[in-house]
Amino acid sequence: MTVIFFVGWIPLANFLPAPSPAASAETVQQMFSENALGIRIGMSLVLIIAGLFISFGAAIAVQTYRIEAKSQPIMTFIQLPTMAVSAAIAVFCSMFWQAAAYRPDETIPEVTQALNDIAWFTFLWPWVPFSLWCVAIAIPILQDTSARPAFPRWVAFLNLWSAFLFLPAGMIVFFKDGPFAWNGLLAYYLPLFVFFIWVVAMSVSLFGAIRSQDEATATPATVG
């Protein structure tokens, strides 16, 4: 997921560093006109991430479902729609960028700019579902009282830390420049960085969780 995202994002779509929200409509249109093919291919790759979100999230949910098996799997139930929203975000932001890159020379610059705006907003602004996803992962981990817990407890705290740090992305609507604009250090680069730390940490700990699940289900069979 990380590889696909960065290949689509950086060399193809050229969104790192991010274009400035303070740029004029003409500049924005020119950017889409010049890089139309790169954006089209890059965003097609981002679309694949929507599917990967779902399978990745389902694997995490299976593990927290295992933890919550004794009671009601409410946290697992919360995770499922939040990963659907995350997939939808990937679908819509890539689609809006595709729309912006579709006819960059045939329409007025303001239309291209508006499509670019809404794409960036879709990509960064909805921090709440992502943070809710992280909290819904953290809570079952902290409540896990089994002998061989699915996830180590520090993963819960990493999730809580990540949940906090998506919040600055919600500030982009107030700014066209500065650290809290959509190309800003604190609203773009920081949440993006935190997100990929989260993906790596969850992927690694997921392997551990699956392994502990295999061992838990294998034990009865080895009893003589």
């Binding site: 407890r153 705290f157 990493l158 500030m171 700014f175 920081l190």
Partner: protein
């Protein structure tokens, strides 16, 4: 697998987790809370660097705007949080010293209420402070200083509000007649979070209010 009697008060033994044996120092709380605290402090360090860079680019704006902040209110808030941390720390050490004694437990619960009251006062005291600025037409977009002022203190305020929820969890634990097995870890983790919130403010206050 246990190598001998556990050290008194060394907390819980959790298979595959935070095992505290008979050797080695005791880490307050659990490893995870330190992942959170150090990660959060790293991010706030980044916030402070951003502040320094922006300030270097526009020193007069920062000096002027900082002088317009209500330093008295800031000082009151600092004292509120410091007092709050003191009360929470006292509650934690009381619980650790005599987890089984009912009068100690209720005293700890009262100390936690005091700590949470100070934290609540901090949060409520923000309202007139922000409102005074908003009423005079100053908002997040007024200049670079005010962007950082509102957003840094706002993000800190969210930490305070979450901290109040954490203190509530600790209070409920202290009010239980019988201590749960992981209680010490819970108290230490919760208190560590609250002290972090305090430390962040202790840096924010001079940075925003006094540096100008």
């Amino acid at each position: 697998m246990l190598t001998g009697p556990q050290r008194e008060g060394s907390g819980d033994v959790r298979p595959g987790g935070d095992e505290v044996g008979t050797a080695g120092p005791h880490v307050p709380g659990e490893a995870g809370i330190w992942v959170f605290v150090l990660g959060d402090m790293a991010v706030f360090a980044l916030f402070f660097v951003v502040f320094a860079v922006e300030r270097a680019a526009a020193p007069e704006v920062f000096a002027q705007s900082s002088a317009a902040l209500d330093g008295g209110r800031g000082l009151v808030n600092t004292l509120l949080l410091l007092t709050s941390s003191l009360l929470v720390a006292r509650a934690g050490s009381a619980i650790r010293a005599a987890p089984g004694d009912p009068s100690t437990r209720s005293r700890a619960a009262a100390l936690l209420v005091g700590g949470a009251a100070c934290g609540t006062a901090f949060a409520l005291h923000k309202i007139p402070e922000y409102w005074a600025k908003v009423e005079s037409g100053i908002g997040v977009n007024t200049n670079e200083f005010y962007t950082l002022y509102f957003l840094y203190t706002g993000i800190h305020l969210v930490h305070v509000l979450i901290g109040l929820a954490v203190l509530t969890v600790l209070w409920r634990a202290a009010r239980r007649a019988v201590a749960r097995p992981n209680e010490r870890r819970l108290f230490e983790s919760g208190a560590t979070y609250w002290h972090m919130v305090d430390v962040l403010w202790v840096v924010l206050f001079p940075l925003l209010y006094l540096l100008g």
